[in-house]
């Protein structure tokens, strides 16, 4: 099956810093989503981005489908950005998401 790898596994930032999270996938995909899981376990949709670039406030994402990777940019990080960021893909018509192992982000005040 498809492999989804995220890097780095852990990241510690000072408030106000910028960061880039990466997601590599081993096969062509129909769908790619980025999620933020907050410390209470809630999984929040950030982007649906099978290709191209999208921006939402301080967050933006780029997926280069032909090279099988996606990047999530966080600018001017805040303590509320802390949590785990997951990349997940759908690679067939079944609709099921395959998750990466996540990047655990900690933003210090």
């Amino acid at each position: 099956g498809i492999q989804v790898e995220q890097s780095p596994p852990d990241l510690i930032l000072q408030e106000g810093a910028n960061s880039t999270l990466r997601c590599n996938f081993s096969d062509s995909v129909n769908n790619l989503q980025w999620f933020h899981q907050n410390p209470w376990g809630q999984l929040i949709n950030l982007f649906y981005i099978p290709s191209g670039t999208k921006q939402n406030g301080r967050l933006s994402a780029t997926t280069v489908a032909t090279e099988r990777y996606s990047l999530l940019y966080i600018s001017s990080s805040q303590t509320t950005d802390s949590g785990v960021y997951f990349c997940a893909v759908i690679y067939n018509q079944g609709g099921k998401l395959i998750f990466g192992q996540g990047t655990e982000l900690s933003v210090k005040p």
Partner: protein
Amino acid sequence: SAVISQKPSRDICQRGTSLTIQCQVDSQVTMMFWYRQQPGQSLTLIATANQGSEATYESGFVIDKFPISRPNLTFSTLTVSNMSPEDSSIYLCSATPSTDTQYFGPGTRLTVL
């Protein structure tokens, strides 16, 4: 988009018992899924909940352990049967409305003693 609720939000259960988790979506959706997130781990798909037919289970998950119902296009249940401490996890349901974007419920945090 879709708004998804789950009940209960958390529970503490004794080994050998069963727990049924409910998932309600605020609109009719074509596809619903159940995931498990073990402590410190990523999410793993348990099964696809099919409306009007038996669920489709992923490798490593069986119907006897995780029976699933989906009586209509807005509701599904997952039962965790004959629980052991290894079943302690967060269980999440998700749904895909008309677009490809998948939305998740808030999860059910299960502890088995």
